[in-house]
């Protein structure tokens, strides 16, 4: 890792009144200039770029504390609006001593609604309307937690790591409980036979179950803005380079199709006893 050499200890650079005063005036100047173009509500900003408010987590503070490593570059700390507002709402919920709102944001606030719409627009339709792949490959993807960390390579396919948070099959005991159990997902939603499954494959556009399940996998934030579930099919634009399938998302189209089969195929371990 090419780490910038930083000094947190030396006494010589601890007090710089001139610098602080300069930065303050610069910030005031910048705020003044940017005031006219300010269209975003204040609540959509979690990381400040002014650096004058002690309570703000500002950009320079993050630059002092983190460094790019491998594919995990500093761009990753630039939040999109969804990340910013969900950070802020969770932060404020604990500050007021209220329960966290990250799990269920039913706020009908206009901004939240528009952000949900923005996320909904990112749900794409798979090529040739093929929504289902192979459940055995889906199971492997659900087990695999690799990808996108600073120890991973850029072209490596990522896993979905579904078992980290969900129970999915009867056989796998090592599952997390951050998300709901998905054991019996298809069966309990009426996909009880191969004939019914074949029907879903034939007319996926007509099935709310197929559309909802696909949508949750591609972009969970379209349904619950601040859900802890990642947006598996949404491209992360600032990612440096594509994986071997050519996507900047966590999972590619084929992997998402395989997970669809894992969840809905009546023969998959999810739907078998």
């Amino acid at each position: 890792m090419n780490m910038v050499k930083v000094n947190f200890i030396h006494l010589s650079n601890k007090i710089r009144p001139w610098r602080d005063v300069f930065v303050f005036f610069l910030a005031v100047l910048l705020i003044g200039c940017s005031h006219q173009s300010q269209t975003e509500p204040a609540s959509a900003t979690f990381i400040s770029n002014s650096g004058t408010d002690a309570e703000y987590l500002n950009e320079s503070y993050l630059k002092l504390s983190f460094g790019s490593s491998g594919i995990a570059t500093m761009d990753r700390l630039k939040q999109d609006k969804t990340q910013a507002i969900c950070s802020q709402s969770a932060y404020e919920a604990t500050r007021l001593g209220m329960p966290l709102v990250t799990k269920n944001t039913s706020n009908s606030d206009l901004l939240l609604e528009s952000l949900r719409e923005t996320n909904k627009a990112l749900i794409f339709t798979p090529s040739d309307l093929v929504y289902f792949g192979d459940y055995a490959r889906g199971e492997a993807i659900a087990q695999d937690g690799r990808g996108k960390t600073w120890t991973d390579s850029v072209d490596q396919l990522s896993g979905g790591n579904c078992y980290n948070c969900h129970q999915l099959s009867k056989k796998e005991l090592s599952y997390g409980t951050l998300g709901p159990s998905l054991y019996g997902y298809g069966k309990s939603r009426g996909v009880t036979s191969q004939a019914i499954y074949d029907e879903l494959k034939k007319s996926p556009k007509e099935s709310p179950l197929v559309q909802y399940t696909w949508g949750m996998l591609v972009n969970s934030k379209a349904y619950n803005l601040c859900t802890v579930m990642p947006r598996f099919g949404v491209a992360f634009e600032s990612l440096k380079g594509f994986d071997q399938s050519g996507t900047k998302a966590i999972l590619n189209e084929r992997q998402l199709q395989d997970l669809m089969a894992l969840l809905l195929d009546p023969n998959s371990p999810v739907n078998r006893e």
């Binding site: 200890i9 987590l57 969804t82």
Partner: protein
């Protein structure tokens, strides 16, 4: 028809052994709690899911208890104590005069009151960054070089050993992380903001996993770091011996690997953000007893 181990995902020997032990323990727990009910109705499905859940948790608790009997960290504490008292570095001096907040040379109970603001550096410092300062100030080590190194370089490993020794001298002492000075309050606020900062490819933050009680990632219990119990049990047990890596990890290293899994860029050792997070967790832990060195998966 059922796919059998085609993925070779968790292929390490350790994991295999661990799985076998767990499966065996789950079997025992299930036998003790009576036979599973049939999966005939929805009510029964839920009921048996709950009982399977409980027996899994019981098995994990048993496994942990078996491990806790002999903690290899004790050996590292002895090494760390010896390092603390050895004349080292360019200045050939020991750390015996290092001030950890309770006065020069006082180690007993010092960690339970860290991170804290230090007059001499005019900074809030955590355990590792304070040790780093003493190594530079007293022994003449170059802190800038040490910060740039990885966790497993010889002198950085020494910092971990020193940290596990110092922390062990607070075992059983209730945390009393000070929060009276504006610098400490500011660090707490920043730490809390960082805790809720969602970013990166996966939208993760610390709070994704650590803001609810009773959740698990795979089989690993997740402490709720926003509560006294959660922060006390988790923050209070690092530095710890990690079985999966066979080494001592400090809180700095624990945080670094959390950020790796969060898909964030790499936190710089002893940086303000890492200290701020420890202030947040440490203050939340106040009142709970320090239990480091812990024993981890």
């Amino acid at each position: 028809m059922y796919p059998t181990n085609t993925g070779s995902i968790r292929s390490t020997y350790k994991d295999a052994v661990l799985s076998i032990i767990l499966v065996a323990l789950v079997g025992i727990a299930k036998a003790q709690s009576g036979s599973l009910e049939g999966l005939t109705s929805t009510a029964n499905v839920q009921k048996s899911e709950q009982s399977a859940e409980q027996s899994t948790e019981k098995a994990i608790a048993q496994y942990r208890q078996m491990l806790q009997e002999a903690n290899p960290a004790d050996l590292y504490v002895i090494k760390g104590e010896s390092l603390w008292n050895s004349a080292r570095g360019p200045k050939r001096r020991s750390l015996a005069s290092c001030d950890l907040g309770l006065g020069p040379g006082v180690v007993k109970g010092a960690w339970a009151q860290m991170p804290r603001y230090f007059e001499d550096t005019q900074r809030v410092q955590d355990l590792e960054s304070r040790i780093l300062f003493c190594m530079q100030d007293i022994q003449g080590f170059n802190s800038v070089d040490l910060v740039a190194q990885d966790f497993n370089t010889p002198e950085r490993l020494n910092i971990s050993l020193l940290a596990v020794y110092v922390a062990s001298e607070s075992e059983g002492v209730p945390f009393n992380v000070p929060m009276s000075l504006p610098q400490e309050k500011e660090m707490y606020k920043i730490g809390k903001k960082l805790f809720f900062l969602r970013a990166g490819t996966h939208d993760f933050s610390c709070s994704t996993c650590h803001s609810e009680t009773g959740r698990r990632i795979r089989l690993q219990d997740l402490p709720n770091l926003t509560t006294q119990d959660g922060a006390g049990g988790a923050y209070g047990s690092w530095p710890a011996y990690r079985i999966s890596t066979g080494s001592i990890w400090t809180m700095q290293q624990r945080l670094s690997d959390c950020f790796r899994q969060q898909r964030f860029p790499k936190p710089i050792f002893a940086s303000p953000a890492t200290i701020a997070l420890s202030v947040y967790m440490g203050f939340n832990a106040n009142g709970s007893e320090a239990s480091a060195p812990g024993l981890k998966r």
